[in-house]
Protein backbone atom coordinates (compact mmCIF):
# COMPACT_ATOMS: atom_id res chain seq x y z
CA UNK A 1 0.00 0.00 0.00
CA UNK A 2 2.94 2.33 0.63
CA UNK A 3 3.99 2.03 -3.02
CA UNK A 4 0.50 3.01 -4.07
CA UNK A 5 0.57 6.14 -1.93
CA UNK A 6 3.90 7.22 -3.40
CA UNK A 7 2.61 6.59 -6.90
CA UNK A 8 -0.31 8.91 -6.22
CA UNK A 9 2.18 11.59 -5.19
CA UNK A 10 3.76 11.30 -8.66
CA UNK A 11 0.47 11.92 -10.45
CA UNK A 12 -1.14 14.27 -7.93
CA UNK A 13 0.36 17.58 -9.13
CA UNK A 14 -0.73 16.96 -12.72
CA UNK A 15 -4.17 15.69 -11.74
CA UNK A 16 -4.78 18.63 -9.41
CA UNK A 17 -3.71 21.10 -12.14
CA UNK A 18 -6.00 19.45 -14.69
CA UNK A 19 -8.87 19.33 -12.20
CA UNK A 20 -8.55 22.98 -11.14
CA UNK A 21 -7.80 24.51 -14.53
CA UNK A 22 -9.74 22.20 -16.83
CA UNK A 23 -12.38 19.98 -15.23
CA UNK A 24 -13.75 22.62 -12.86
CA UNK A 25 -13.86 25.30 -15.59
CA UNK A 26 -15.72 22.93 -17.94
CA UNK A 27 -18.33 22.33 -15.24
CA UNK A 28 -18.41 26.05 -14.46
CA UNK A 29 -18.90 26.85 -18.15
CA UNK A 30 -21.94 24.59 -18.18
CA UNK A 31 -23.35 26.50 -15.20
CA UNK A 32 -22.40 29.85 -16.71
CA UNK A 33 -24.25 28.93 -19.90
CA UNK A 34 -27.57 28.80 -18.01
CA UNK A 35 -27.11 32.27 -16.48
CA UNK A 36 -27.44 35.77 -17.90
CA UNK A 37 -23.85 36.65 -16.91
CA UNK A 38 -22.92 39.88 -18.72
CA UNK A 39 -21.17 43.20 -18.09
CA UNK A 40 -23.26 43.69 -14.94
CA UNK A 41 -22.35 40.24 -13.77
CA UNK A 42 -18.74 41.25 -14.06
CA UNK A 43 -19.48 44.04 -11.56
CA UNK A 44 -20.92 41.64 -9.00
CA UNK A 45 -22.37 38.14 -8.76
CA UNK A 46 -25.67 39.48 -7.32
CA UNK A 47 -26.50 40.71 -10.83
CA UNK A 48 -26.39 37.16 -12.21
CA UNK A 49 -29.59 35.17 -12.58
CA UNK A 50 -30.37 31.59 -13.54
CA UNK A 51 -32.25 31.66 -16.86
CA UNK A 52 -32.39 27.97 -17.84
CA UNK A 53 -31.90 27.28 -21.50
CA UNK A 54 -32.63 30.85 -22.61
CA UNK A 55 -29.08 31.44 -23.88
CA UNK A 56 -29.34 28.38 -26.10
CA UNK A 57 -32.82 29.31 -27.33
CA UNK A 58 -31.77 32.89 -28.08
CA UNK A 59 -28.78 31.56 -29.96
CA UNK A 60 -31.02 29.53 -32.25
CA UNK A 61 -32.93 32.72 -33.08
CA UNK A 62 -29.86 34.76 -33.94
CA UNK A 63 -29.18 35.04 -37.67
CA UNK A 64 -25.49 35.68 -36.90
CA UNK A 65 -25.22 32.31 -35.16
CA UNK A 66 -26.55 30.49 -38.23
CA UNK A 67 -24.22 32.56 -40.41
CA UNK A 68 -21.29 31.61 -38.17
CA UNK A 69 -22.29 27.96 -38.22
CA UNK A 70 -22.57 27.96 -42.01
CA UNK A 71 -19.18 29.67 -42.34
CA UNK A 72 -17.57 27.19 -39.96
CA UNK A 73 -19.10 24.20 -41.74
CA UNK A 74 -17.91 25.57 -45.09
CA UNK A 75 -14.40 25.83 -43.67
CA UNK A 76 -14.61 22.26 -42.31
CA UNK A 77 -16.20 20.64 -45.36
CA UNK A 78 -13.96 22.37 -47.92
CA UNK A 79 -10.83 22.85 -45.83
CA UNK A 80 -10.44 19.33 -44.42
CA UNK A 81 -10.55 17.45 -47.75
CA UNK A 82 -8.36 20.12 -49.39
CA UNK A 83 -5.84 19.94 -46.58
CA UNK A 84 -5.68 16.13 -46.45
CA UNK A 85 -5.56 15.95 -50.25
CA UNK A 86 -2.55 18.27 -50.27
CA UNK A 87 -0.92 16.26 -47.48
CA UNK A 88 -1.46 12.99 -49.33
CA UNK A 89 -0.14 14.41 -52.61
CA UNK A 90 2.97 15.77 -50.94
CA UNK A 91 3.51 12.52 -49.00
CA UNK A 92 3.25 10.44 -52.20
CA UNK A 93 5.77 12.71 -53.93
CA UNK A 94 8.19 12.49 -51.00
CA UNK A 95 7.71 8.74 -50.74
CA UNK A 96 8.52 8.13 -54.42
CA UNK A 97 11.82 6.26 -54.78
CA UNK A 98 12.61 8.59 -57.68
CA UNK A 99 12.58 11.74 -55.51
CA UNK A 100 15.91 13.40 -54.68
CA UNK A 101 16.82 15.62 -51.70
CA UNK A 102 13.99 14.10 -49.69
CA UNK A 103 15.23 15.34 -46.32
CA UNK A 104 15.46 18.94 -47.48
CA UNK A 105 12.04 18.93 -49.10
CA UNK A 106 10.47 17.26 -46.09
CA UNK A 107 11.76 20.07 -43.88
CA UNK A 108 10.77 22.77 -46.38
CA UNK A 109 7.21 21.50 -46.76
CA UNK A 110 6.86 21.17 -43.00
CA UNK A 111 8.20 24.65 -42.20
CA UNK A 112 4.82 26.49 -42.32
CA UNK A 113 3.48 24.18 -39.57
CA UNK A 114 5.86 25.56 -36.95
CA UNK A 115 5.38 29.21 -37.92
CA UNK A 116 3.21 31.49 -35.80
CA UNK A 117 -0.34 31.56 -37.13
CA UNK A 118 -1.02 35.17 -36.19
CA UNK A 119 2.19 36.27 -37.94
CA UNK A 120 1.69 34.34 -41.18
CA UNK A 121 -1.93 35.49 -41.27
CA UNK A 122 -0.57 39.05 -41.38
CA UNK A 123 1.77 37.99 -44.21
CA UNK A 124 -1.04 36.38 -46.18
CA UNK A 125 -3.28 39.39 -45.70
CA UNK A 126 -0.78 41.30 -47.85
CA UNK A 127 -0.11 38.44 -50.28
CA UNK A 128 -3.86 38.39 -50.94
CA UNK A 129 -4.10 42.17 -51.47
CA UNK A 130 -6.22 42.84 -54.56
CA UNK A 131 -3.84 45.24 -56.25
CA UNK A 132 -0.37 44.72 -54.75
CA UNK A 133 -0.68 41.10 -53.60
CA UNK A 134 1.56 38.53 -55.22
CA UNK A 135 -1.23 35.94 -55.38
CA UNK A 136 -3.17 38.08 -57.85
CA UNK A 137 0.09 38.95 -59.59
CA UNK A 138 0.65 35.23 -60.08
CA UNK A 139 -2.89 34.80 -61.38
CA UNK A 140 -2.32 37.67 -63.82
CA UNK A 141 0.77 36.02 -65.29
CA UNK A 142 -1.39 32.95 -65.86
CA UNK A 143 -3.87 35.20 -67.69
CA UNK A 144 -6.50 35.11 -64.92
CA UNK A 145 -8.30 38.20 -63.68
CA UNK A 146 -7.61 39.47 -60.15
CA UNK A 147 -9.76 38.35 -57.21
CA UNK A 148 -10.74 40.64 -54.34
CA UNK A 149 -9.82 37.84 -51.92
CA UNK A 150 -10.56 39.44 -48.56
CA UNK A 151 -13.10 42.02 -49.76
CA UNK A 152 -15.48 39.83 -51.71
CA UNK A 153 -17.95 37.89 -49.53
CA UNK A 154 -17.72 34.90 -51.85
CA UNK A 155 -13.92 34.70 -51.74
CA UNK A 156 -13.02 35.57 -48.13
CA UNK A 157 -13.56 32.08 -46.70
CA UNK A 158 -11.89 30.31 -49.66
CA UNK A 159 -8.92 32.64 -49.11
CA UNK A 160 -8.72 31.51 -45.48
CA UNK A 161 -8.91 27.89 -46.67
CA UNK A 162 -5.94 28.63 -48.92
CA UNK A 163 -3.88 30.00 -46.03
CA UNK A 164 -4.93 27.13 -43.80
CA UNK A 165 -3.97 24.45 -46.35
CA UNK A 166 -0.57 26.10 -46.83
CA UNK A 167 -0.04 26.36 -43.07
CA UNK A 168 -1.15 22.85 -42.11
CA UNK A 169 -0.63 20.31 -44.89
CA UNK A 170 2.91 19.50 -43.70
CA UNK A 171 1.60 18.09 -40.42
CA UNK A 172 -0.53 15.33 -41.90
CA UNK A 173 2.07 14.83 -44.63
CA UNK A 174 4.55 13.58 -42.01
CA UNK A 175 1.99 11.22 -40.50
CA UNK A 176 0.93 9.86 -43.89
CA UNK A 177 4.58 9.51 -44.90
CA UNK A 178 5.14 7.27 -41.87
CA UNK A 179 2.04 5.32 -42.90
CA UNK A 180 3.32 4.90 -46.46
CA UNK A 181 6.67 3.57 -45.27
CA UNK A 182 4.88 0.99 -43.14
CA UNK A 183 3.07 -0.62 -46.10
CA UNK A 184 4.85 -3.91 -46.79
CA UNK A 185 6.58 -4.01 -50.19
CA UNK A 186 5.25 -7.47 -51.04
CA UNK A 187 1.70 -6.06 -51.17
CA UNK A 188 2.84 -3.98 -54.13
CA UNK A 189 4.76 -6.88 -55.64
CA UNK A 190 1.72 -9.15 -55.54
CA UNK A 191 -0.51 -6.49 -57.12
CA UNK A 192 2.07 -5.80 -59.81
CA UNK A 193 2.25 -9.49 -60.67
CA UNK A 194 -1.53 -9.32 -61.13
CA UNK A 195 -0.88 -6.62 -63.72
CA UNK A 196 -2.00 -3.60 -61.68
CA UNK A 197 -1.04 -0.20 -63.11
CA UNK A 198 0.02 2.84 -61.11
CA UNK A 199 -3.53 4.10 -60.44
CA UNK A 200 -4.73 0.64 -59.57
CA UNK A 201 -1.88 0.34 -57.08
CA UNK A 202 -2.83 3.66 -55.49
CA UNK A 203 -6.53 2.81 -55.34
CA UNK A 204 -6.38 -0.83 -54.35
CA UNK A 205 -3.19 -1.08 -52.30
CA UNK A 206 -2.01 2.30 -50.99
CA UNK A 207 -5.30 3.93 -50.01
CA UNK A 208 -6.83 0.86 -48.30
CA UNK A 209 -3.59 0.32 -46.38
CA UNK A 210 -3.67 3.97 -45.26
CA UNK A 211 -7.35 3.67 -44.28
CA UNK A 212 -7.03 3.71 -40.48
CA UNK A 213 -4.42 6.49 -40.58
CA UNK A 214 -6.57 8.55 -42.93
CA UNK A 215 -9.51 8.17 -40.57
CA UNK A 216 -7.48 9.31 -37.57
CA UNK A 217 -5.95 12.18 -39.51
CA UNK A 218 -9.32 13.36 -40.75
CA UNK A 219 -10.87 13.28 -37.27
CA UNK A 220 -8.00 15.31 -35.79
CA UNK A 221 -7.95 17.74 -38.73
CA UNK A 222 -11.68 18.22 -38.54
CA UNK A 223 -11.67 19.05 -34.86
CA UNK A 224 -8.90 21.57 -35.48
CA UNK A 225 -10.90 23.14 -38.34
CA UNK A 226 -13.94 23.60 -36.13
CA UNK A 227 -11.75 25.85 -33.98
CA UNK A 228 -11.05 28.50 -36.63
CA UNK A 229 -10.43 31.84 -34.97
CA UNK A 230 -7.07 33.58 -35.44
CA UNK A 231 -7.27 33.86 -39.24
CA UNK A 232 -10.52 35.84 -39.33
CA UNK A 233 -9.43 37.85 -36.27
CA UNK A 234 -6.25 38.98 -38.00
CA UNK A 235 -7.25 39.05 -41.66
CA UNK A 236 -10.92 39.99 -41.99
CA UNK A 237 -12.39 40.86 -38.57
CA UNK A 238 -15.20 38.50 -39.48
CA UNK A 239 -16.09 40.41 -42.64
CA UNK A 240 -16.89 41.04 -45.41
CA UNK A 241 -20.65 40.81 -44.82
CA UNK A 242 -19.98 38.50 -41.83
CA UNK A 243 -18.81 35.76 -44.15
CA UNK A 244 -15.81 34.86 -41.99
CA UNK A 245 -17.49 35.03 -38.58
CA UNK A 246 -16.93 31.54 -37.19
CA UNK A 247 -18.56 29.96 -34.16
CA UNK A 248 -15.43 30.56 -32.10
CA UNK A 249 -15.18 34.14 -33.38
CA UNK A 250 -18.76 34.64 -32.22
CA UNK A 251 -17.86 33.20 -28.82
CA UNK A 252 -14.90 35.57 -28.53
CA UNK A 253 -16.94 38.64 -29.50
CA UNK A 254 -19.85 37.73 -27.22
CA UNK A 255 -17.62 36.86 -24.32
CA UNK A 256 -14.64 39.16 -24.46
CA UNK A 257 -15.78 42.12 -26.52
CA UNK A 258 -19.30 42.50 -25.09
CA UNK A 259 -18.58 40.60 -21.85
CA UNK A 260 -21.69 38.42 -22.23
CA UNK A 261 -19.93 35.45 -20.69
CA UNK A 262 -23.16 33.48 -20.15
CA UNK A 263 -24.25 33.51 -23.79
CA UNK A 264 -20.62 32.95 -24.87
CA UNK A 265 -20.49 29.78 -22.77
CA UNK A 266 -23.61 28.53 -24.53
CA UNK A 267 -21.88 29.15 -27.88
CA UNK A 268 -18.87 27.14 -26.66
CA UNK A 269 -21.04 24.18 -25.72
CA UNK A 270 -22.89 24.24 -29.03
CA UNK A 271 -19.50 24.14 -30.78
CA UNK A 272 -18.46 21.22 -28.59
CA UNK A 273 -21.65 19.39 -29.47
CA UNK A 274 -21.08 19.85 -33.18
CA UNK A 275 -17.48 18.66 -32.94
CA UNK A 276 -18.55 15.63 -30.98
CA UNK A 277 -21.38 14.76 -33.37
CA UNK A 278 -19.16 15.10 -36.43
CA UNK A 279 -16.47 12.89 -34.89
CA UNK A 280 -19.01 10.16 -34.11
CA UNK A 281 -20.50 10.48 -37.58
CA UNK A 282 -17.10 10.16 -39.19
CA UNK A 283 -16.13 7.13 -37.11
CA UNK A 284 -19.43 5.48 -37.98
CA UNK A 285 -19.15 6.15 -41.70
CA UNK A 286 -15.61 4.78 -41.61
CA UNK A 287 -16.75 1.61 -39.88
CA UNK A 288 -19.42 1.06 -42.52
CA UNK A 289 -17.04 1.58 -45.42
CA UNK A 290 -14.50 -0.68 -43.74
CA UNK A 291 -11.75 1.90 -43.32
CA UNK A 292 -11.20 1.10 -39.67
Amino acid sequence: MRGSAIAWLFVAPALVAIAVFFVVPVAAALLLSVTDFDLYGLAGWHNVRFIGLDNYLHLLQRPLFWRALANTLFFVLVGVPASIGASLGAALLLHSPLARLKGIFRTALFAPVVTTLAAVAVVWRFLLHTRYGLVNHGLATLGLSPVDWLGDPRWAMPAIVLLSVWKNFGYNMIILLAGLSAIPADLYEAARLDGAGRWALLRHVTLPALGPILLMVSILTMSAHFQLFAEPYVMTLGGPAERTVTVLYLMYEDGFKWWSLGPASAVAFVLFLFMFAFTLLQARVARHTGAA
Binding site: P25, A29, T116, W166
Partner: protein, 273 residues
Protein backbone atom coordinates in the same frame (compact mmCIF):
# COMPACT_ATOMS: atom_id res chain seq x y z
CA UNK B 1 18.05 5.84 -64.37
CA UNK B 2 15.42 3.41 -65.45
CA UNK B 3 12.59 5.91 -65.94
CA UNK B 4 14.05 9.32 -66.82
CA UNK B 5 10.74 11.01 -67.70
CA UNK B 6 9.09 9.92 -64.49
CA UNK B 7 12.12 10.89 -62.43
CA UNK B 8 12.06 14.35 -63.98
CA UNK B 9 8.32 14.68 -63.36
CA UNK B 10 8.48 13.70 -59.68
CA UNK B 11 11.41 16.00 -58.98
CA UNK B 12 10.00 18.93 -60.89
CA UNK B 13 6.75 18.59 -58.96
CA UNK B 14 8.68 18.48 -55.68
CA UNK B 15 10.64 21.61 -56.58
CA UNK B 16 7.44 23.40 -57.59
CA UNK B 17 5.63 22.48 -54.36
CA UNK B 18 8.70 23.27 -52.29
CA UNK B 19 9.27 26.71 -53.79
CA UNK B 20 5.57 27.57 -53.60
CA UNK B 21 5.51 26.55 -49.93
CA UNK B 22 8.56 28.60 -49.00
CA UNK B 23 7.55 31.61 -51.07
CA UNK B 24 5.35 33.36 -48.45
CA UNK B 25 8.17 33.06 -45.91
CA UNK B 26 10.71 34.33 -48.43
CA UNK B 27 8.50 37.30 -49.27
CA UNK B 28 7.97 38.06 -45.60
CA UNK B 29 11.73 38.36 -45.09
CA UNK B 30 12.25 40.27 -48.34
CA UNK B 31 9.48 42.81 -47.69
CA UNK B 32 10.73 43.40 -44.15
CA UNK B 33 13.85 44.99 -45.69
CA UNK B 34 11.94 47.25 -48.09
CA UNK B 35 11.56 50.99 -47.65
CA UNK B 36 8.15 52.16 -46.36
CA UNK B 37 5.58 51.98 -49.15
CA UNK B 38 7.79 49.99 -51.49
CA UNK B 39 5.78 46.77 -51.28
CA UNK B 40 2.66 48.67 -52.33
CA UNK B 41 3.90 49.60 -55.78
CA UNK B 42 3.01 48.05 -59.08
CA UNK B 43 4.22 45.58 -60.23
CA UNK B 44 4.79 44.19 -56.71
CA UNK B 45 8.55 43.83 -56.13
CA UNK B 46 10.09 40.53 -55.02
CA UNK B 47 13.28 42.06 -53.60
CA UNK B 48 13.97 45.42 -51.93
CA UNK B 49 15.59 48.03 -54.20
CA UNK B 50 17.97 48.94 -51.39
CA UNK B 51 17.74 46.69 -48.34
CA UNK B 52 17.24 48.63 -45.10
CA UNK B 53 17.02 47.81 -41.40
CA UNK B 54 14.72 50.81 -40.92
CA UNK B 55 11.60 48.72 -40.15
CA UNK B 56 13.38 46.70 -37.49
CA UNK B 57 14.85 49.84 -35.98
CA UNK B 58 11.40 51.43 -35.87
CA UNK B 59 9.91 48.37 -34.14
CA UNK B 60 12.56 48.37 -31.44
CA UNK B 61 13.05 52.11 -31.02
CA UNK B 62 9.49 53.46 -31.35
CA UNK B 63 7.21 50.51 -30.71
CA UNK B 64 9.42 49.06 -27.96
CA UNK B 65 8.90 45.54 -29.24
CA UNK B 66 11.80 44.29 -27.12
CA UNK B 67 9.29 44.18 -24.28
CA UNK B 68 7.04 41.75 -26.17
CA UNK B 69 10.01 39.64 -27.23
CA UNK B 70 10.93 39.31 -23.55
CA UNK B 71 7.31 38.49 -22.62
CA UNK B 72 7.10 35.77 -25.26
CA UNK B 73 10.45 34.33 -24.30
CA UNK B 74 9.70 34.31 -20.58
CA UNK B 75 6.20 32.86 -20.92
CA UNK B 76 7.37 30.14 -23.30
CA UNK B 77 10.35 29.18 -21.14
CA UNK B 78 8.24 29.08 -17.97
CA UNK B 79 5.51 27.10 -19.75
CA UNK B 80 8.14 24.60 -20.88
CA UNK B 81 9.62 24.21 -17.40
CA UNK B 82 6.20 23.82 -15.78
CA UNK B 83 5.03 21.34 -18.38
CA UNK B 84 8.13 19.18 -17.81
CA UNK B 85 7.70 19.37 -14.06
CA UNK B 86 4.06 18.24 -14.12
CA UNK B 87 3.96 15.84 -17.06
CA UNK B 88 7.18 13.84 -16.62
CA UNK B 89 6.35 12.47 -13.17
CA UNK B 90 2.72 11.80 -14.08
CA UNK B 91 3.52 10.18 -17.43
CA UNK B 92 6.10 7.92 -15.81
CA UNK B 93 3.76 6.94 -12.97
CA UNK B 94 0.92 6.06 -15.36
CA UNK B 95 3.32 3.81 -17.28
CA UNK B 96 5.38 2.13 -14.57
CA UNK B 97 3.99 2.54 -11.07
CA UNK B 98 1.12 0.46 -9.76
CA UNK B 99 -1.70 2.15 -7.93
CA UNK B 100 -5.41 1.58 -7.56
CA UNK B 101 -7.53 3.15 -10.27
CA UNK B 102 -4.53 3.90 -12.48
CA UNK B 103 -5.96 2.69 -15.75
CA UNK B 104 -9.39 4.12 -15.09
CA UNK B 105 -8.00 7.56 -14.29
CA UNK B 106 -5.86 7.43 -17.42
CA UNK B 107 -8.85 6.52 -19.58
CA UNK B 108 -10.79 9.42 -18.05
CA UNK B 109 -7.93 11.76 -18.94
CA UNK B 110 -7.94 10.59 -22.55
CA UNK B 111 -11.70 11.06 -22.60
CA UNK B 112 -11.23 14.69 -21.57
CA UNK B 113 -9.47 15.27 -24.90
CA UNK B 114 -12.81 15.51 -26.70
CA UNK B 115 -13.66 18.74 -24.87
CA UNK B 116 -12.19 21.72 -26.74
CA UNK B 117 -10.14 24.00 -24.50
CA UNK B 118 -12.17 27.05 -25.54
CA UNK B 119 -15.07 25.83 -23.39
CA UNK B 120 -12.97 26.61 -20.31
CA UNK B 121 -12.00 30.13 -21.36
CA UNK B 122 -14.94 32.06 -19.89
CA UNK B 123 -14.83 30.52 -16.38
CA UNK B 124 -11.03 30.50 -16.41
CA UNK B 125 -11.02 34.21 -17.14
CA UNK B 126 -13.43 34.90 -14.27
CA UNK B 127 -11.37 32.71 -11.96
CA UNK B 128 -8.17 34.56 -12.83
CA UNK B 129 -9.93 37.89 -12.47
CA UNK B 130 -10.97 36.95 -8.93
CA UNK B 131 -7.37 35.99 -8.19
CA UNK B 132 -6.07 39.22 -9.74
CA UNK B 133 -4.10 37.30 -12.35
CA UNK B 134 -5.51 38.87 -15.52
CA UNK B 135 -2.68 40.66 -17.30
CA UNK B 136 -0.02 38.65 -15.53
CA UNK B 137 2.37 35.96 -16.73
CA UNK B 138 0.72 33.52 -14.35
CA UNK B 139 -2.59 34.01 -16.15
CA UNK B 140 -1.02 33.15 -19.49
CA UNK B 141 0.74 30.11 -18.00
CA UNK B 142 -2.24 28.43 -16.37
CA UNK B 143 -3.26 26.27 -19.36
CA UNK B 144 0.32 24.96 -19.74
CA UNK B 145 0.77 23.42 -16.29
CA UNK B 146 -0.21 19.86 -17.07
CA UNK B 147 -1.67 18.50 -20.25
CA UNK B 148 -3.30 15.21 -21.13
CA UNK B 149 -1.26 15.17 -24.31
CA UNK B 150 2.01 15.68 -22.42
CA UNK B 151 1.19 12.92 -19.95
CA UNK B 152 0.25 10.61 -22.81
CA UNK B 153 3.46 11.41 -24.70
CA UNK B 154 5.67 10.62 -21.70
CA UNK B 155 3.67 7.51 -20.78
CA UNK B 156 3.99 5.97 -24.24
CA UNK B 157 7.75 6.46 -24.11
CA UNK B 158 8.13 5.32 -20.50
CA UNK B 159 6.33 2.04 -21.30
CA UNK B 160 9.46 0.96 -23.19
CA UNK B 161 11.64 1.12 -20.05
CA UNK B 162 12.35 -2.47 -18.92
CA UNK B 163 10.91 -3.28 -15.46
CA UNK B 164 14.15 -5.09 -14.56
CA UNK B 165 16.02 -1.77 -14.48
CA UNK B 166 13.57 -0.34 -11.98
CA UNK B 167 13.58 -3.54 -9.90
CA UNK B 168 17.37 -3.49 -9.80
CA UNK B 169 17.37 0.08 -8.52
CA UNK B 170 14.80 -0.79 -5.82
CA UNK B 171 16.84 -3.86 -4.81
CA UNK B 172 19.76 -1.52 -4.23
CA UNK B 173 17.58 0.26 -1.73
CA UNK B 174 16.73 3.28 -3.84
CA UNK B 175 13.40 4.92 -3.00
CA UNK B 176 10.84 5.67 -5.70
CA UNK B 177 11.98 9.27 -6.02
CA UNK B 178 15.66 8.34 -6.29
CA UNK B 179 14.80 5.67 -8.85
CA UNK B 180 12.94 8.32 -10.83
CA UNK B 181 15.69 10.95 -10.79
CA UNK B 182 18.71 8.61 -11.11
CA UNK B 183 17.44 5.83 -13.37
CA UNK B 184 14.29 6.95 -15.15
CA UNK B 185 14.98 10.60 -15.99
CA UNK B 186 18.19 9.87 -17.95
CA UNK B 187 16.28 7.26 -19.96
CA UNK B 188 13.45 9.73 -20.61
CA UNK B 189 15.81 12.36 -22.00
CA UNK B 190 14.71 12.06 -25.66
CA UNK B 191 11.03 12.44 -24.80
CA UNK B 192 11.92 15.21 -22.36
CA UNK B 193 13.47 17.17 -25.22
CA UNK B 194 10.48 16.38 -27.44
CA UNK B 195 7.99 17.60 -24.84
CA UNK B 196 10.10 20.71 -24.22
CA UNK B 197 10.25 21.61 -27.91
CA UNK B 198 6.54 20.99 -28.46
CA UNK B 199 5.58 23.04 -25.41
CA UNK B 200 7.89 25.92 -26.24
CA UNK B 201 6.62 26.16 -29.80
CA UNK B 202 3.03 25.68 -28.72
CA UNK B 203 3.08 28.42 -26.12
CA UNK B 204 5.10 30.79 -28.35
CA UNK B 205 2.57 30.41 -31.16
CA UNK B 206 -0.51 30.37 -28.95
CA UNK B 207 -2.98 33.12 -29.80
CA UNK B 208 -6.50 32.97 -28.45
CA UNK B 209 -5.86 32.58 -24.73
CA UNK B 210 -3.06 35.20 -24.54
CA UNK B 211 -5.31 37.54 -26.54
CA UNK B 212 -7.99 37.15 -23.88
CA UNK B 213 -5.92 37.23 -20.73
CA UNK B 214 -3.18 39.70 -21.74
CA UNK B 215 -4.92 42.92 -22.74
CA UNK B 216 -2.22 45.37 -21.71
CA UNK B 217 0.67 46.15 -24.04
CA UNK B 218 3.31 45.65 -21.32
CA UNK B 219 2.51 41.98 -20.79
CA UNK B 220 1.46 40.95 -24.30
CA UNK B 221 3.23 38.24 -26.27
CA UNK B 222 4.56 38.80 -29.80
CA UNK B 223 1.69 37.18 -31.75
CA UNK B 224 -0.93 39.18 -29.84
CA UNK B 225 1.02 42.45 -30.07
CA UNK B 226 1.55 41.86 -33.80
CA UNK B 227 -2.14 41.21 -34.40
CA UNK B 228 -3.08 44.38 -32.51
CA UNK B 229 -0.40 46.39 -34.28
CA UNK B 230 -1.45 45.10 -37.70
CA UNK B 231 -5.01 46.26 -37.07
CA UNK B 232 -3.71 49.78 -36.34
CA UNK B 233 -1.10 49.86 -39.12
CA UNK B 234 -2.94 48.36 -42.08
CA UNK B 235 -0.89 50.35 -44.58
CA UNK B 236 2.56 49.71 -43.13
CA UNK B 237 3.24 46.45 -44.93
CA UNK B 238 7.00 46.55 -44.51
CA UNK B 239 6.83 47.29 -40.79
CA UNK B 240 4.39 44.42 -40.26
CA UNK B 241 6.64 42.05 -42.17
CA UNK B 242 9.55 42.93 -39.89
CA UNK B 243 7.29 42.16 -36.93
CA UNK B 244 6.30 38.85 -38.49
CA UNK B 245 9.96 37.92 -39.03
CA UNK B 246 10.78 38.66 -35.39
CA UNK B 247 7.83 36.51 -34.31
CA UNK B 248 8.43 33.56 -36.64
CA UNK B 249 12.22 33.37 -36.75
CA UNK B 250 12.89 32.07 -33.20
CA UNK B 251 10.51 29.13 -33.50
CA UNK B 252 11.62 28.33 -37.03
CA UNK B 253 15.27 28.20 -35.92
CA UNK B 254 14.44 26.13 -32.86
CA UNK B 255 12.55 23.69 -35.06
CA UNK B 256 15.41 23.38 -37.54
CA UNK B 257 17.80 22.74 -34.66
CA UNK B 258 15.67 20.10 -32.91
CA UNK B 259 13.69 18.77 -35.85
CA UNK B 260 14.26 15.11 -34.98
CA UNK B 261 12.69 15.49 -31.55
CA UNK B 262 9.77 17.51 -32.87
CA UNK B 263 8.88 14.91 -35.51
CA UNK B 264 9.08 12.12 -32.94
CA UNK B 265 6.54 13.88 -30.76
CA UNK B 266 4.29 14.46 -33.72
CA UNK B 267 4.26 10.77 -34.63
CA UNK B 268 3.71 9.50 -31.08
CA UNK B 269 1.10 12.15 -30.42
CA UNK B 270 -0.91 11.38 -33.51
CA UNK B 271 -1.48 7.73 -32.66
CA UNK B 272 -3.78 8.59 -29.80
CA UNK B 273 -6.90 7.50 -31.70
Amino acid sequence: MRRPVETLGVNLALWAVGLLTLFPLFWMVSASFMAPGEASTFPPPMLPRAATWANYRLLFAEHGIVRQVANSLLISLLATALSLLFNLTAGYAFAKLRFRGRDRVFRLLLGALVVPAQVTMMPLFLMLKEMGLVNSYAGALVPWLASVFGIYLVRQYALTIPDELLEAARMDGAGEWTTFTRVVLPLLKPILVTLAVLTFLGSWNDFMWPLIVLTEREVQTLPVALAVLSREHVQDVELMMAGAVITVLPVLLLFLLLQRYYMQGLLVGSVKG
